[in-house]
Amino acid sequence: MIRMILTRLVSSLLTLAILITIVFFMAHATPGGPAFSILGQKATPQAVEQLNQRLGLTAPLWRQYLMWFWHLAHGQLGYSYLLNRPVRQLVGDYMVNTLALYASAMLLSVILAIVIGLIQGTTWGRWPANLIRLLELCFYAMPTFFIGTIMILYFSVKWRVLPAGGISSVRISDPGLLDYVRHLVLPVVTVALLGTASLSYYFGASVHDELGKDYVRTALAKGLTFRAVLFRHVLRNALRPLVTMVGLAFPYIFTGSMMVETVFNYPGLGYLLWRSALSQDYPVISGVVLLIGFLTVLGNLFADIVNGLLDPRERYE
């Protein structure tokens, strides 16, 4: 097991190194360059030259590349000249919001998916499973902004029970925890509905698959009740695809987040990425992309380890 974790860790680090390299070269391949976005489109060539010198952009590429790694290793992500703040600080604030939103949404959808999937898997081919499938399809097909808008319409505008969004400050401590949680409810439910729709179907299908396997027959032949077979034998094996799905869902969550964060006016990473992309704020874009990449790799590593715990065949021994 430890060997498996070590191996996965090494390959995760390799993946990250590749990602960092790609981000570096992409930032360099962009037209215009940062000097223009800082000084404006009408800047004189001299001013651009001067600024490039100051930013270290005139050094040979390999040197810049090595510097890039060196800075990253020290946690320096660069400086946003547009917002006049270090990228690390900026990204850090937005990340807390994003993690609060998606961690709770993910947790909620996993719990819902397990409950719904168990019902779907055990009644496969009969009406409860068919009805669930229909609902899953509906929610899966609905765009996030549509669900989000409907939520706002009812919960915020008509019934006035929850805020439509707009956490005034990006810090947890400022508005008070309760207020922060109240602001989270609608975005979390919106993201969770979409997540549940796909996760529960996959989990339901995998419960159904597992129930058809020979070991289930063996367990029943031992004299176990169906419920005991389901929870002691089937659940654990059926969870594996779900765990992989959750691990794979990480990047989609961040890219999909722009929509939700825009609808709810929620200051998260997606919102930040969208805004920086519009203003060509490269240090911020690079920082956010790297962070998303890092979290994705982390998510997959986590899924691998959990799968190793669930299935002994996954651990090399």
Partner: protein, 604 residues
Amino acid sequence: MNDGSVLRLDNVSVALRRGRGQVVPLLDQICLAVNRGEMTALVGESGSGKTLTSLAVIRLLPRNARLSGQIWLGNIDLLRLPQRDMRKIRGRDIGMVFQNPLASLNPSVRVGAQIREAYRLHTGESDHAACARARELFGEVGIANAKERLGDYPHQFSGGMRQRAMIAMALACSPKLLIADEPTSGLDAILTRQILSLLTRLRREYRMGVLFITHDLSVVQKYADQVHVLYAGRSVEWGSSDAFFNAPRHPYSRALLGAVPRPGQIRLTAISGVLPDPEAMPIGCRFSPRCAYHQAECDCRYPKIDHKGTTSVACCRAADIVSAHRPAGMPSPQYFRSTNDGAVLLKIDRLGVDYRHPAGGVLAALAGRSKSLRILDGIDLTLRHGECLGIVGESGSGKSTLGRAILQMVPYHGSVAFEGMAFDRMTRSRRKMMRRRIQVVFQDPRESLNPRMRIGDIVAEPLALAGERECREQVRRLLDRVGLHARMLDEFPHAISGGQAQRIAIARALAAKPAVIVLDEPTSSLDVSTQAALLNLLKDLAQQDGLSYILISHDVAAISYMADTIAVLRSGRLIEVGATAGLLAAPGAEYTRHLLAASFLYEI
């Protein structure tokens, strides 16, 4: 309730309900008994209803099945029990051992925990007591190092060990009845013998009845007390094993026994036709469409049951069928072809194959420390023109790898020379051409046909590769040669039976006009009657085309029927090579003797 019967089935029928009120009968009025301390073998080909019978006994039939009749366990009628009480019977009074133990054990739960669960469920004992019982059981089924092995997962066990673990689990509560559903299918002869000896010893020790479900008649003769033959959901013949094997009386039983390969036999008796479709069963005797003794009245009359001595048979013509003499013992060597006449076609010189362990991944690769395992070593073999070379060995002996090395599908060292030239000395284009002349037929016929391709296209592919046009007519001819109808051309592989699929694989191999066909366990997944027809076909094709075969199998009987020369392989090394007759009559190596003894060659 009489005497010592543990289990008695009285007129048990099973039907499946389909949509629109349609009912498909699957089992029809089965009467069967298992006595205390005895083994009753339930014999039949796939689709005959054997497994259904065992699932009916423990009442784990599919939801849409309708079960009627009486199933007596001692003096309880299991069909009258509510599910709650039935659960207490399962595992406590009836132990089950299933086919394919790897799939039948939960892959993510330790073997020890799965055994303890069975014990604690019914005894309510502490975990400590369950541990002790599990260790005791592992001792009884012959697994050494019980304490450590109990902590292992199923995938860490070998095939034979898994089945022993399965048996240990079934025995946890000392049941009165053990149902073993094809427990040895997929295991080689030596493992089969070990498992059956184990079951025989245990049933005497525990004084339990065993219902043994199998399609392997040679095993039945050696180990069973009673035999019960099923055909298309009906009992056709039943009674004491000795009497049955001395004088089988039902045409189906006789045909089945004739289909079992024996060394020196010139031809196997295949059963023509196929099993009737359960939705359109014949009205009278269900075997009548395929029966050699068929008369007009058989089509419309329910077969009369004829009791004679210790066996009973459901056949109206039983009295007319005179028990014919069957060949027994060793045949004279003249049945076998001399092997020294043909020119050398394939010469294998000091062939070896190493296997690099893929597990270990990036880290091991970086450290340059991946494990290498020698799975074949120092193999010298010669295949002559028109010869059938049989390669026999237990699972894991390296037989299939040898076949793949000959096909140039795995890297090897040493040399494989085809028509006098080693493959590694050929130019690339010549090598490509020569490889086409060695074709292959794999074990699992359906897995080895692309499910998205039509049969006609599958067979035509080698022709197209050889640059031939107008394949259609040739494909038709090839299908005809392997005994298939041309209307199959446009079907997809899922629509055909295992035997037919294997014929298509052979037609595909023939399409490349090969000199050699490597047959890798070609009949292992087929029923005995299908196997007989296929082996006969292979013999005919060899004679017509002057084909050579390399037949890889763990089935000594099939090998000895087909092969002119036999090579015995064990743990990647050649133990012995010799002409079939000589090797069977006087095996040189101790291991060969052991393998032959395990294969029950001379018994039927």
